[in-house]
């Protein structure tokens, strides 16, 4: 039986706590967290409790147990809001949430929780040295949300559901106006609208090509030097010649 196993089974709270701190210093976080999990409830109300709770949270964080470290850091700063470690704990809680944020293709509920946690941290400790890092994390997470929405809209484009793509890109532009994907979204919206008009029944084409031309105009207004400009102009030209053809037909019919 190893020393660690003996410690785990012992009833001596102080000895376990001391050993946990030693393991923590030696970066043996698994053992430290095992011991701390056992002793923290029994240490409540003693002088060691504050430090023990913080180290417990830290040791779980270091082992990538982010769900646990999230809960423990939160518990720490709500219990000891005046502690000098509270700021760090709140920051680390947000970091724990950040680590739980999945890839952009999965459900983003954890991402939104993490953004809220960082924002709360920045509001509460505006002078903290961690604020720049927190702000960059917030930006990173928002970018992830942008990317997710953009990809969902682009999927309709890839599946050639042109009308759905236009609706989805419109939503994207409204809700993620300042994202780096906006330019591409505006271009793909134009293309989708053009193709949608092409596939439409004759009676609806005029209206839909007109809309494509509107989309082109707002695209060049907003992105005058876009890398998609040349392609966009092509769709614009084609839409215009289609419109010309349609109008000529209707005039001819009117003259008959």
């Amino acid at each position: 039986c190893s020393n660690f196993q003996k410690l785990l089974k012992s009833n001596d709270v102080t000895k376990k706590y001391q050993a946990a701190l030693e393991y923590y210093e030696k970066e043996e976080y698994y053992r430290a967290s095992q011991l701390l999990d056992q002793v923290t409830p029994l240490l409540a109300g003693t002088g060691e409790s504050e430090k023990a709770l913080f180290y417990q949270a830290q040791s779980h964080f270091k082992q990538s147990n982010y769900i646990l470290s999230d809960a423990y850091f939160r518990n720490f700063y709500t219990t000891y809001p005046r502690s000098p470690l509270a700021e760090e704990a709140m920051y680390m809680q947000a970091q724990s949430l950040y680590q739980q944020s999945p890839s952009y293709q999965e459900d983003q509920t954890p991402t939104i929780t993490a953004i809220m946690a960082f924002e709360e941290f920045v509001t509460r400790y505006p002078d903290s040295e961690n604020v720049p890092e927190a702000n960059s994390r917030i930006e990173q997470l928002y970018l992830k949300l942008d990317r997710k929405e953009f990809n969902q809209a682009r999927l309709y484009y890839q599946l050639r559901y042109w009308h759905s793509a236009v609706v989805a890109f419109n939503n994207f532009q409204r809700e993620h106006a300042s994202s780096p994907y906006s330019e591409e979204a505006a271009f793909l919206k134009l293309e989708s609208q053009y193709r949608y008009a092409m596939e439409s029944v004759a009676s609806k084409q005029e209206e839909r090509f007109d809309e494509a031309i509107d989309y082109f105009q707002s695209f060049v207004d907003q992105y005058p030097d876009s890398r998609f400009k040349r392609n966009a102009e092509q769709f614009y030209e084609q839409a215009r010649s289609e419109l010309e053809r349609i109008r000529k037909n209707t005039n001819n019919q009117a003259n008959l």
Partner: protein
């Protein structure tokens, strides 16, 4: 805990007039085991802080101390000096819980109780905590029908920790209490027996009811009383009430239940009028509603016909499938005369709603695009309830999510006339791992290792952080299988499927490879060998015509048989090649892959080799195998009632050659009989088809022994199967079944007779576990004599079958 005025204080705090103070000091008294300094940091008040007294600051401080759960009582005293305030927190400590144990019950139950009791180590033990512990345990046993459970909690100090106690919780479960009888008073329209049947979870104990639980569970009993009233209401007794009911003891472990009902009178429909409908006229709506004057008044049925009828058409469907999301219908009883009710249907049609945004939540494994591409409600389209339900069925069919918890949540925006739709899913594991060892007939012991990953991602394969434990989420399927018994039999197979090749359309690509080695022991140099290697590529497409339930599949396969010293249809040494193209046309509208309730599926497939014999007469038919094979399968599900489903199936298969004089080789033949698993004799290019009640592979309508071994060239089979869902739990879906089936397999077309069938009947059960697939057993009774040429005991008619995996035929 309260804030008290210091009795000796000269300037008492005025509760009517809150005042600002600066803290002059915080002090803790009464702490014997706890450390004052630590508690002050918990309190969160410091010398110099500005606080309002009376105010929230002190209450919050007290609350924080309480939340630690380590104190018996807290009192706060305040002393003021000008604008300075000195706070004293006087504590009463209580022993804290260091450990608790259960006695009198087994380990499983004490583990289960540990999650239910509110006890926490390190917290103080109060009477309230002890009481709720007792209640939690009592409720746990009440649910299990131990109504006489006794709980005794004893405390003793912990010798190793100061100020701590150990709890011992002794539970005496007592007898399990069962329901002896259920009586009804006041019922005239229906017999006791009929009413008793309506109580779904409250049943009498009877010796012959082996599978029925006669436990008494209060919440279930309350539900059952409601079910009883629902039953009355479906029969037109809408005034029926339960006047009184009593649950009484008959003996120590037996209960009696007496329910007194007042049935009231039976009501009928009289006139039904419509109001507010502009799009459809009254006559049409009445026809869809399908309720005639004089019918028994049935509120549930009416709701179903108006709002949602899973088994047919309803009035809402007319509107809601055409975008009228805001459609509402309110049936109002405008007149009740005697036993007749006049209804007025007040219809609000509202505007048509367009779908705006589609969101998905709950996918913590599967990528958005894998789900989104299956969704049929598209932005910009009109809202349609049918599309919503179809989407749910299709998401269920993916197999990645728990089919019972797929959530459809339309969020209408009446101002814009749009609707956002949120789909919520719960991921479930659906990778299958199989490890088995068994006695494989003539080969001896066979070990199998199989791994099927149903939601694989090759894209994430090179990103190590996505391995948990394998890269998942892109809906690809990877399957590996190794079977071996050492030297004499080895089989390796690998297959990979990408369901959306190119990402634009649901065109699936499957690539598979296999290799089989068989050796037969013989003398020196006389060892015989049969090796089969093969590869196949197939492309599947979904069709939009004739409707979008259709699909098509094209597959090109190559098999090579390498034979030495082993006779297969005239070839003893050398190579034999089979190149064939299979085209399949199918349609499937089945609602749930594990337990289908409604829908149908059919497939027609044609598998053909190039017609060598028509091109050249010099081709060796053994070197290049030639055949054409036609298979047809149809399956139809009808929901008979609740969880009872009838499945009707028909299967046909025919095998032929191109030229008249060319005889069919041993390949690709049909083997009918048994569970259809292919037994121990795994021969590639043979169709194994089950026919329960008969030995594996032994149904061939021929007396020719070699044909009996090779298999038939035409078969047909018909099945009627009633299935009853027993447990819908997605981790282990269980259903029972009873079947009647008939089939035959013919060695030549001269003998073919579709009316000559071997019949059987039987019962069985299936369990679907997401990690293992489908497992089951059937007991089948043979209704006809044994096929000619089959050895066996003609008088032995019953037999068991074990079924592994989903059977198509």
């Amino acid at each position: 805990s309260q804030v008290l005025n210091n009795p000796v204080q000269t300037s008492p705090i005025d509760y009517a007039e809150p005042k600002q103070y600066r803290i002059g000091g915080v002090e803790i008294t009464g702490a014997k085991f706890l450390e004052p300094v630590a508690l002050i940091s918990v309190i969160g008040l410091k010398e110099g802080d500005e606080i309002t007294v009376p105010g929230e600051d002190i209450s919050r401080a007290i609350q924080k101390l309480w939340q630690q759960g380590i104190l018996g009582d807290v009192e706060v005293f305040a002393r003021t000096e000008g604008d300075l305030i000195y706070l004293t927190f006087d504590l009463k400590e209580r022993p804290r819980l260091s450990e608790y144990r259960f006695s009198g019950i087994n380990k499983t139950q004490s583990e289960a109780l540990r999650d239910k009791v509110p006890l926490q180590r390190g917290k103080i033990v109060t009477d309230a905590v002890l009481n709720s512990t007792r209640n939690a345990i009592r409720n746990y046993y009440l649910e299990k029908s131990f109504l006489n459970a006794k709980i005794n909690i004893t405390q003793r100090p912990d010798p190793t920790l100061p100020n701590s106690v150990i709890l011992n919780i002794h539970v005496d479960k007592g007898n399990k209490v069962k329901i002896e009888k259920i009586e009804f008073v006041g019922n005239e329209a229906f017999a006791d027996k009929r009413l008793r049947r309506q109580l779904k979870k409250t049943k009498e104990k009877k010796w012959y009811k082996i599978f029925t639980s006669s436990k008494y569970n209060r919440t279930e009993y309350e539900n059952d009383k409601q079910l009883l009233l629902d039953f009355y209401s479906t029969e037109g007794y809408r005034d029926a009430t339960i006047v009184s009911d009593s649950v009484y003891r008959i003996s120590d472990d037996r209960l009696g239940i007496r329910i007194t009902v007042d049935e009231g009178q039976q009501y009928y429909y009289r006139n039904i009028t419509w109001n507010g409908n502009y799009i459809y006229d009254d006559a049409y709506l009445s026809r869809v509603l399908g309720i005639a004057k004089g019918d028994i008044y049935n509120k549930q049925e009416l709701d179903k016909r108006l709002n949602y009828n899973p088994a047919g058409i309803d009035v809402s469907a007319l509107y809601q499938n055409d975008g009228y999301l805001f459609f509402n219908i309110d049936p109002v009883e405008v007149r009740v005369e005697g036993d007749s009710i006049d209804l007025e249907m007040r219809v609000t049609e509202g505007p048509q709603a367009t779908i705006n945004k589609i969101t998905i939540t709950g996918n913590d494994k599967t990528s958005d695009h894998v789900i989104l591409r299956e969704i049929r409600t598209l932005p910009g389209q009109k809202y349609s309830r049918d599309d919503l339900i179809r989407t749910r069925n299709e998401l269920a069919a993916l197999g990645y999510f728990d089919p019972e918890t797929i959530g459809l949540n339309p969020v209408p925006n009446p101002v814009e006339g749009t609707v956002d739709i949120n789909y919520s899913v719960v991921e479930r594991p659906n990778d299958q791992i199989s490890l088995s060892g068994g006695w494989g007939g003539p080969i001896g012991a066979v070990g199998t290792v199989g791994l099927t990953l149903n939601n694989f991602s090759t894209r994430k394969m090179f990103n190590l952080s996505e391995w948990r434990p394998v890269p998942t989420g892109d809906g690809q399927r990877l399957s590996l299988n190794v079977q071996a018994n050492g030297k004499y039999y080895q089989s390796y197979s690998l297959s990979f499927t990408e369901p959306w090749l190119g990402g634009r359309k649901a065109n699936s690509l499957t690539v598979s490879l296999f290799k089989t080695i068989r050796r037969f022991p013989g003398g020196e140099g006389a060892e015989s060998r049969l090796n089969v290697d093969g590869a196949a590529v197939s492309l599947g497409r979904r069709l939009n015509w004739p409707d979008n339930f259709f699909y098509m599949n094209h597959s090109l396969s190559f098999n090579r048989y390498d034979v030495s010293n082993y006779n297969i249809g005239g070839l003893t040494n050398g190579l034999s090649n089979s190149i064939s193209l299979t085209n399949t046309l199918g349609r499937s509208s089945i609602d749930n892959p594990t337990f289908p309730r409604r829908g149908s599926s059919f497939t027609l497939s044609v598998n053909m080799t190039p017609p060598y014999s028509l091109i050249s007469e010099n081709m060796d038919p053994l070197e290049y195998i030639e055949f054409h094979k036609w298979m047809f399968d149809a399956s139809y599900f009808i929901n008979l009632a609740g969880n009872l489903v009838l499945n009707t199936r028909a299967h046909f298969g025919f095998l032929g050659t191109y030229s008249q004089d060319n005889t069919l080789g041993p390949f690709e033949r049909f083997k009918l009989g048994g569970a259809g698993l292919g037994g121990g004799n795994i021969f590639v290019g043979t169709e194994y088809i089950g026919l329960r009640g008969y030995e594996d592979e032994r149904v061939v309508n021929s007396t020719d022994q070699s044909l009996l071994n090779a298999g038939g060239i035409a078969y047909n089979k018909f099945v009627f199967e009633a299935r009853q869902l027993i447990s819908p739990n997605p981790a282990a879906t269980i259903y029972g079944l009873a079947f009647l089936e008939a089939g035959n397999n013919f060695g030549s077309y001269a003998e073919y007779n579709p009316f000559k069938l071997y019949r059987s009947a039987g019962v069985g059960a299936r369990i679907f576990m997401s990690a293992f697939g489908l497992l089951g057993f059937d007991y089948a009774w043979r209704l006809d004599d044994l096929p000619p040429g089959v050895a066996g005991d003609a008088s032995k008619r019953g037999m068991f079958h074990f079924i592994i995996g989903q059977q198509i035929r």
